[in-house]
């Protein structure tokens, strides 16, 4: 019996360690946006969304309550989600923000754990697009999107697993407004 209880204790300690490691990784996916607070006064339009903890739980419960097919799909896509943080700033003129502030965010994504998924650089509008993901084992534990252009900045930080394909499929449905914050000017042929 003592051997058995010792074995159980070891298993419990191991599980506790794994759980804490997973939570630490999930916490690591959280980016710090404090440096961008000074952009609010300069920007023409600002969108700031922080949804996590109890608010996110309430939103998940509301999705169940709405009892709609699309709502159920969204509920599935975000079932493991722990938080979403969004910042969008639109400016009237070019160069109204300091690109170093955005590069500081990009620096946070150079830490271990983050993997670059997409990297687009365009001289047109000084566009820089970065998409990073963080994985814990086979499970996605974070997504970060950083987009900077001459007149706009957009940052998205998702904590926890999320079905991106399903989310893209549901874009424009179920009161999800199709917000076209930046419309690219197609080159004329």
């Amino acid at each position: 019996m003592p051997i058995m209880s010792e074995y159980l204790l070891k298993v419990l300690l191991l599980m506790l360690f794994l759980a804490s490691a997973a939570s630490t990784n999930a916490q690591d996916a959280h980016l710090r946006f404090e440096k961008l607070n000074n952009l609010e006064s300069k920007a023409l339009d600002v969108v700031e969304v922080n949804i996590d903890g109890k608010l996110l739980d309430l939103a998940k419960r509301t999705l169940v309550k709405v009892n709609d097919q699309d709502a159920q799909k969204i509920g599935q896509a975000i079932s493991g989600l722990k938080g979403i943080y969004v910042r969008v700033y639109n400016f009237e003129k070019d160069g109204e923000y300091d690109i170093a502030d955005i590069d500081e965010i990009r620096q946070q994504l150079q830490t271990p754990g983050w993997e670059r998924l997409a990297n687009v650089r365009s001289k047109r509008n000084n566009q820089k697009v970065d998409v990073f993901t963080m994985f814990t084992g086979d499970t996605m534990s974070g997504v970060a999107v950083v987009i900077s252009e001459s007149k706009s900045v957009a940052l998205v930080n998702v904590i926890g697993p999320i079905d991106i394909d399903l989310l893209a499929e549901l874009s424009g449905k179920l009161n999800i407004p199709k917000i076209e914050i930046e419309k690219e000017n197609k080159p004329k042929n």
Partner: protein, 200 residues
Amino acid sequence: MNEDYLWNKTGADAEIEKLENQLRAFRYRKTAPPALPALPIKAPHQTARKSNRSLYAIAACAMVAMILLGAWLQFSISKTKIQTQSAEIVLSENEFSNSTGFIMPDSPDVTIKKTASSKQPPKSQVLSSKKSLAVIAFPTKAMANIHRADQQKNVMLTKEEKFAYDQLMLALSITSSKLKMVKDKAAGLENSQAFYENKQ
């Protein structure tokens, strides 16, 4: 007629003796009494009474069932009435706000879907009654139909729930639009690369 012969059978009377001889066939003979039946035979009127009693029991049960059904229908109709009235209040508040521009004080509940029409309360009552009867007649099919109808019912959300829902939808919308933009950009680059490779 000799009275002594008639009453005491003393002496003789030819006329009475002639009558006695004629009625000899009906003379009393002392024999054993008939045997009693082994089992009591049921009287036919008793069976009839029993069947009447069971009929009364069935009728009483049916009456109780009808009373219960009536009470249930009444309850469900009054419930529908309350729902319709609350929808009417919310709608009239919205109409008032839209027409005057005056914002009503915060109400505990906020509707996100407008379904119950305030102008047609009797229809919902009839629907409720029909629903109840349909459940009794065809339970499985009716329940499936009601479930489908319930899915399209009003969804009443509290102020906090609506706020949380809107925030989540906004965050998801921006996230999905940004990811879509990156995806389209990557696809565009791949296409142009393939185009130049083919050209070469």
